[in-house]
Every structure is written in C-alpha cells, then in structure tokens.
C-alpha cells in the first residue's frame, strides 16, 4: 500500500495540464482518429504480405494488422482493433506513419513517434500505443518469415 509521491509517474512534457487524478483527457487529434480511424479493415489474403496479431487472447485490448509490401515499401496497410479510444487512435496513427515507408523505416517507428504525431495521449493510455507498434513489428516479422520461406522453397 505504500505510495510515495515520487514513485508516481508524472505527465511529461505534453501541452495538456498535469492531471494527477484518474482521468481521460484525449486531445482533438486523438478523438478525430478515434471517430474516423484511417486504414481500417483486413487486406484480402491475396494482397497480404505480412500479418500481426497482438494482445492477450482472452483479456484486454487486441489488434490485427495487415501489410502489403512492394519493393521494400509498405504500400498498403490495414488494421482492426478491439480497444479503448487510445488503442484505436494510436493504431490508426501508426498505420498512417507506416504507410509508404520502407521496411527499415517502419521498423524504427516507436510508440513515442505515434504519441508525438497525435500531440500526446493521457499518461494512463501510453501502453495503448505500444500495441500498434508491436502489431506492426509482428506484421514485419511475418513478412520477413514469408520472404525467408519463399526463398527456401
């Protein structure tokens, strides 16, 4: 039960006020990506070069992410998400950041990039942005595995 003020993470350098209470405080960009998420939906199996599924199978948020790759670039990307507005908005923004990028560039996208692109996300929701990045990494690894498999066959 022991709690010390210093052990509580603080809100960091976003523009939103420091809100120590339990609160959601999504900014307009996040809400916009939540209400009109970009790149929603599965790619057709034939077009899918990589697929990622992250999240516990029974509990908590879940993300599915599809990519199509041409000439080392992500040409198409799609996602479906079960999760809170933070999860949906960060996934949406992640797909925007990843689309058109080379595999290497896409590998380097971090959750901080996603959060920055959204102009910040509530402290308690930072974990959401990890899901999108992990989903993309999973899809990229899947793509690599498929490449390797193609190479060996």
């Amino acid at each position: 039960m022991a709690t010390t003020p210093q052990s509580t993470p603080e809100t960091g350098p976003e523009t939103q006020p420091e809100l120590p209470g339990p609160v959601l405080y999504y900014n307009e960009t996040v809400l916009e990506h939540f209400t009109r998420p970009r790149n929603v939906g599965a790619l057709p199996p034939a077009d899918t070069d990589g697929f990622g599924l992250v999240g516990d199978p029974f509990c908590g948020d879940q993300l599915k992410l599809w990519i199509a790759v041409r000439d080392g670039r992500i040409t198409r990307i799609g996602f479906k998400s079960f999760g809170c507005p933070g999860a949906i908005a960060t996934s949406s923004m992640l797909t925007e950041l990843a689309r058109g990028r080379t595999i290497d560039e896409a590998r380097k996208i971090t959750d901080d990039d996603v959060i920055e692109a959204l102009g910040g996300i509530p402290e308690r929701k930072r974990h959401c942005s990890l899901l999108g990045v992990r989903g993309l990494q999973a899809a990229l690894s899947d793509w690599e595995a498929r490449q390797a498999a193609d190479g060996t066959t």
């Binding site: 339990p22 029974f58 509990c59 507005p85 999860a87 949906i88 308690r124």
Partner: protein
C-alpha cells in the same frame, strides 16, 4: 447534454444551493465558538442532524457528518476494527464492494487483519451462505453494500443484518447508491453503520454521513477537536452539512415517486437496446436493482470507446465506477459475477436521475445502436 451518469454524481439542486448560501454569506461562524454568532452555525448543524435523522429513521446522536462517502466508509471500517481490536482481527465483506471499502480492507489486511470476500452469484447478489460460513468467532465487522454502484443490484441487507446480529458482529452497509433513491430507515433496515454521500443525491460534493446505531463500538479516524462527539474532528463544513440535509429531505420526499417513474424508463431502455443490438445483455438483470441503473454488455467492443463516442454525441455515460476511469483492469464487480474479462471490458453503465426524460432515452438508444455498430465494424474480435 443528456446526462446518464447519476451514479457518479448528480447536479446540485438549486434549492439545496439556496439552503447553503446563508452559511456561505452571513452565518459563517465556527460552530464550536462560544459566542452567539458561532452558535447560529452550531444550531444549523444540529438542525441538519435532526433532519437527516428524521429522513433515515434514526436518532440525531446516531448521525456523524463526514467529508464524503469514502470517508464514511473508511471511518466505519477502520473505526470499528480499531475499537474492537481486543476482540478479533477478521473482517467479512463482499467481492463487489466500492474501492472505498475494498481498498480499505486491503489496507487493514496489510496491517494484520484477515479479510474474507464473500462471493456473489451470476446475478450480482452476495451469497448469503458464503457470508454465513465466513463469519467466525474473531470476526469484528461485516461490510456489504446496499446497492452496487456499477450494476445497481440490491444486496440482502435485512438477511445480512440478521446473520451479523445473531453473532454480535457489527454490520456496515455502504448505502451511497441507495440513500435518496429508496426509502431507508436505519431502525428497520438492519445495519449498525450506514454510509452516504451528499453529491449522489443532488447535494454538494465533499460531505457525507455515517449513521452509527446507538451502542456500536467506533473509534475516530480523524482525531483532534471534540467535534461530532469526538468521533470526527475538524471544523464542520456547515454549508455542506446544511446542504446534505436539505438534499436528503428533498430526495426522501420524492424517492418512492421517482423510483416508480424511473423503473419503467430504465426497463424500456433495456428492452429497446436488447432488441436493437445483437448479443447485448444486461448485467444483474435477474436481481432486484435500484430503479435508475442499467449495466449493458456489448460483446466485442470496448466500453470506454462506447463512452467516449457517446460523449462526442453529447451523452454522458460511464464504464462503471468513476474512480476507475481509464483503468485498464476490467471491472472487479462484473468479473466477480462471472463475466469474462473481455465481456466486462465491453460494458457500459447508464444511470438515470431526477432530470431524465423519456425523450432523452430515445436519443440514447439510437446513439448506442449507431456507436456499437461502428465499433463492431472495426473490432478485431
């Protein structure tokens, strides 16, 4: 704005504010001061105590004013446990209590108490047999809420009181979600201690009360001056106390009529949502509930997403306790009722109130149907 989160807080009734203003303007004396100007404030506090006592069927000396529902719960639990520390160190509670009780039990546990959480059935009603089994010779307190804040499910306080009384164990009921909504009489209801909070019944925030049946052992939690018969130190929040009494008197006068008005509205809302949304369910539908609350399960989508989407349409709803806002953990109440974590995550609480009109609910049903469809369209499940 359509406000359907009355279990989180309620608008301050303008008549309540009116009753408070004299103590925020002219009569600002300290009730403990010896001069007549202070005694004006004292008289107001004592009048408020008598009104609360009358509304809730107890004696004025059985009413302690606190700084809110959470403090009332903390005082009940910590106060009884401390007063009876010579007798035993075991507390019995339920799995669906408000954090003000559950986390306080956890703190007591860390301090060497043993705590048993009785299970609830799938309907959200605490298992009486489990409580009975749990009560032992060293049990010093039973604490079970009157109505659950997330589902509205009513708990069998009369039966629990009987179990507790038979064993000489003080019984605390958190009535934060029933005071003002149902007619309550401490004398006949059964518990020895009863918590309530003003802002849940159109009173001000930051004031509550603990009713303590005559003869119940209790130590103070806040020590200092001899306010509240030495059981709750601190200069009295005179305006808040007056407001609590006014709000309670207004609510008690209309509780039955309001309950009769809200139950059919809530029931119709549920029928329409269940008809329009495939797979939707109502948590605790099979149990007696306070008439203003419904907790809807929408499998496959996230409750917080529903709440935010409703907010963007001007509708205030919640996923459960306001205290757990943004909490990634699924509701302990719904999981205790056997809901899977994902099912619990897909739940939305709508709680009606004095200002709720039938037309508003039509708007809400349409919005819910739309929102659930949109979220399901992007759901990965």
């Amino acid at each position: 704005m359509i406000y359907l989160d009355h279990n989180a807080t309620t608008p301050l009734d303008p008549r309540v504010l009116e009753s408070m203003l004299p103590f925020l303007r002219g009569a600002w004396g300290n009730p403990s001061s010896p001069y007549r100007f202070g005694q004006e404030a004292r008289a107001a506090v004592e009048r408020a105590r008598s009104r609360v006592a009358e509304c809730l069927g107890c004696r004025p000396v059985e009413v302690l004013f606190t700084g809110g529902g959470t403090e009332a719960d903390n005082l009940a639990l910590r106060g009884v446990v401390r007063a009876l520390r010579g007798r035993g160190r075991h507390v019995v509670t339920s799995a669906i209590e408000h954090p003000a009780v559950l986390r306080t039990c956890a703190a007591l546990e860390a301090d060497g108490c043993r705590v048993t959480q009785a299970a609830v059935g799938a309907d959200g009603v605490v298992d009486l047999a489990a409580v009975e089994r749990a009560l032992g010779p060293d049990t010093v307190l039973l604490s079970v809420m009157h109505a659950n804040n997330e589902t509205g499910v009513l708990q069998p306080v009369a039966e629990l009181a009987e179990l507790a009384r038979a064993r000489g164990v003080p019984f605390h009921a958190d009535a934060v979600q029933t005071a003002g909504k149902l007619p309550l009489r401490l004398a006949t209801l059964g518990p020895d201690l009863l918590s309530l909070s003003a802002h849940k019944l159109h009173g001000p925030k930051g004031v509550g009360a603990l009713l303590v049946r005559h003869g119940t052992p209790l130590d103070p939690l806040l020590t200092g001056g001899e306010h509240e018969r030495g059981l709750r130190a601190g200069t009295e929040n005179v305006a808040g106390i007056v407001g609590l009494a006014e709000a309670l008197a207004l609510a008690c006068g209309t509780a039955e009529a309001e309950a009769a008005r809200l139950a059919p509205l809530r029931d119709r809302l549920e029928r329409e949502v269940l008809a329009a949304v495939p797979g939707a369910r109502v948590h605790g539908a099979g149990a007696p509930r306070v008439p203003n609350t419904t907790n809807l399960a929408f499998p496959g989508i996230d409750g917080e997403s529903v709440v935010v989407a409703l907010d963007l349409r001007g509708i205030c709803a919640s996923t459960g306790s306001a205290c757990s806002t943004g909490d990634p953990e699924p509701s302990h109440v719904l999981t205790a009722m056997g809901a899977s974590p994902r099912d619990a995550q897909g739940s939305v609480r709508l709680s009606l109130g004095r200002d709720t009109r039938a037309e508003e609910l039509d708007v809400v049903v349409r919005a819910l149907v739309e929102v659930v469809e949109q979220l399901r369209a992007i759901s990965s499940l």
